[in-house]
Symmetry: C2
Amino acid sequence: MSKTYVVIGGSAAGPKTASKIRRMAPDAEIIMIQKGKYLSMASCGFPYFVGGVFDDPNQLIATPTGAQRNPEFFSNVKNIKALTSTEVTSIDREKKLVRMRNLQTGQESTQAYDKLFIATGASAIVPNLPGKELEGVTTLQSMEDAIYLKERLASGNLKKAVIVGGGLIGIETCEALQLGGVQITVVEMLDQVLSFLDWEMAKHVENHIRANGSEVITGCGVSEFLGKDGKITGVKLADGRVLECDLAVVAIGVRPNSGLARDAGLDVGAFGGITVNTFMQTSDPDIYAGGDCVEVTNLVTHQKMPWPMGDAANLEGRVAAQNMVLGNNVEYDGFIGTGICKVFDYVAGSTGLSEKQAKRLGYSNIMTAIQAAPDRPGFMGAKPVIIKLVADRTTCRLLGMQAVGTGDVSKRLAIGAMAIHAKMRVFDLVNLDLPYAPPFSPAIDNFIIAAHVLQNKCLGRMEGISVLDVKAKLDAGEKPFLLDVRGPDEFEQMRLGVGETLIPLGKLRANLDKLPKDKNAEIIVYCKISLRGYEAYCCLKAKGYNNVKVMEGGIVAWPFPREK
Amino acid sequence: MSKTYVVIGGSAAGPKTASKIRRMAPDAEIIMIQKGKYLSMASCGFPYFVGGVFDDPNQLIATPTGAQRNPEFFSNVKNIKALTSTEVTSIDREKKLVRMRNLQTGQESTQAYDKLFIATGASAIVPNLPGKELEGVTTLQSMEDAIYLKERLASGNLKKAVIVGGGLIGIETCEALQLGGVQITVVEMLDQVLSFLDWEMAKHVENHIRANGSEVITGCGVSEFLGKDGKITGVKLADGRVLECDLAVVAIGVRPNSGLARDAGLDVGAFGGITVNTFMQTSDPDIYAGGDCVEVTNLVTHQKMPWPMGDAANLEGRVAAQNMVLGNNVEYDGFIGTGICKVFDYVAGSTGLSEKQAKRLGYSNIMTAIQAAPDRPGFMGAKPVIIKLVADRTTCRLLGMQAVGTGDVSKRLAIGAMAIHAKMRVFDLVNLDLPYAPPFSPAIDNFIIAAHVLQNKCLGRMEGISVLDVKAKLDAGEKPFLLDVRGPDEFEQMRLGVGETLIPLGKLRANLDKLPKDKNAEIIVYCKISLRGYEAYCCLKAKGYNNVKVMEGGIVAWPFPREK
């Protein structure tokens, strides 16, 4: 006898699961119940719709061949019954049925299931601040939100907006609205945007956002939304400043929608997400769950936590469907923590652990390397990528990687993600055979060069210092001897202007008298990307200077203001 | 006492080794001896110089900051003595010295060494055919070759050219000259271009080259270069055809320059490359070698062979230098066989083994999957990528991957290369956490989708058939029932026209009467990329059709002529 599968949720994990169940069980009855109006929306595409990359919202719910993913599509093409504007109000695990209400007609009904899949997603967190009900205070989480923002842009009465939150969605929304001609201020409570990055990497992103005309305020929260006649007129910050605006987009994070599951007595984890095992099965063997409403395992930290990403939702749903139909047979082990974000011409991403995260988790012996390099040869139109690698010095295993820049960041992050998935060590990464031709990479790929720097540090052949630590020393009044080994023309175009001495690498050996007489004096060398800096380091070490360090990533990695 | 390091060769591995020795041994004496005029040329960039991506040949020998890598540069910046136009004529291992001749003055001299590095490179193979000495028969291997081709293009007296050989360099040269306005014919003796690809993947590249106005002839060699007044006028093919031309570029491969090493009594391998261990050390412990002149290990096949690639040369040199200075301490294990090539808007590449190579090596139980998908969502300007995965069915280990298309092939190949390096199995690849955002990939990355197809086949959930096998069946007069499940509009725009039946997926269940009555009849289903094809397959299997197959990659993967 054919079984009945009920899927709660019709956004990402839900439709994926329902479709995969159909492929696994062609004769089963499948009912998908969606609270909202739309099905299978490409919600990660909302910022690009708002920003004008495309203007037809139907593209967000279209298949690659242009079919609309509406109830008729699911019925005709996939033989899946899709109910929209229908809310599941409770799950009766005893009777194995769900109760639901049609939000348009108010009609209540029940639906029995043999196996149930919960994909209730997550909701945007809106802080409980005065004025949060004002018109013009919104999130960017639903089709309705996206259409509202698009209409506001089209209306011409949107001049200034405040984005509350500098995470992935906040930054993508900043780009979208700025491209629509709006003056943007991003307000982030933490001391940096994109918290998956370490501070000094995030500062490059902030610099790029400012260079494109938007403002970024970090280290300051929002205390109130100000309004007049029911409409927003400004945002008041915790420090008292008021930012006038016609719109505030709140993007401070999401919270798993696990209430339905919790009410049904299913286990819920420490972060409020539904508890599932690697089969995506909840504490009730007949109920599976996936997507933004569950907690899954971070394969690097071994912690269970929500991982509200569209790609994970699809993969989890595919696993759940196979297990729901055949019995538990395939597993979703977890995620490693990969995220990427485009902002104007810049791309920023991270995979695995940042240095900050690693330290917070108690890794005591970590090793990092920052490296900046062009993403292909100069004659092919090179663009820079700054890479930071984080490794465990004890095991030499790569723990994390971050990359920012205008160059091909996405490929390098994908390489790093594979290395972390495969638990590769630094020494496994120094001789990789990656696809090389001049249109695609330098002869030694940026990722490999970064691994070389890490290997050099690992073997004690290079002592590095981060731009952050150099800045801290200067701010603390220390006076290390800063040695810039670039050419005079480069120095003329761009320089730190913090008291450094210029001695081009080619003239270093003949100008050792310009260095401190005390061989124990701290000398910090750098060039544009600190490759020549490393050569100078080797030279000075050989000449008996005992306290030389390379400023990693060179002047390109310096995120602070420069003299020029 | 400081040691003397002699490096023979100044192109890629040579300068890398010399520079790394300098960083490891700041006080050593380092002499680099180059036969040609130029040092440290980015020879992989020659086609882009010829094709007009840039016009100043000095860019090929410039550092990222624009310094020319000439003897003064090596002397001033790196304290390396670089001799150009100087040929090493013999190595006296007993006396530990090399004998050399200045090719401009004829003067002979010797240079003693403590450690010697051989990077004599490889030479382009020019077949011993009548007419090979004619003006206009050239290779593209040296700066002089590149400048010659650039000048020929500028002269305006170059209308037609024949490229002999459809490998990487042949294809890149085809693009370069075609962009310069020359009518090109590529002649390849094998039955396909780019032999690192399987036949059906290579055909897509050939189709793209033809679509850009160049001609490709496969399965036919060259028998003679025809000329008049000492200049080339045509190329005669083995089948008697004559192609008129003003230029022939021979690019049929390279041969390691191992004569010097062989004469010195060093071991040479089966393919004529110098034998080295993983420390890049030859059979003489004081002599190391690297780059195009050596044989290194293919990590997938465990065979030693030349791997004449610019990236490998640099990595090998870096390893050799460390071992030459400190004693053997780091290893270059080998390569996995990654190659990539841009041709017009198309990118084609391969890593690990092709199906053909795997079969030739005796793998008896291999599994493949071909999958075509857009490289990002449609609303972000999707471009197609066709991926072929090759795996060992016994171990489930990924053996190889090929990718072609106008989309982001380079990133997917890099992911595949990492999977092969890490010896990952198909099941390790189905839930990867790769960098996902709409500007960079679909919600499930193409690479992962391809892994899903392979997993489905592995688990017996899908039986596929390659476009190649479908075509062979049709050519042999077999009459499988070909079922196209796309929409009528898609069918109108593009179709095979080989007797297929169109039943859109959404109408399949209601139209089973149009299928063969015999449930054992062979039915081959497909759509544009065979995702809907797979859904139809699942449906038909459930309806009791016993002999259904999915045509992998769908119509997008069909490289043969179509009706429309």
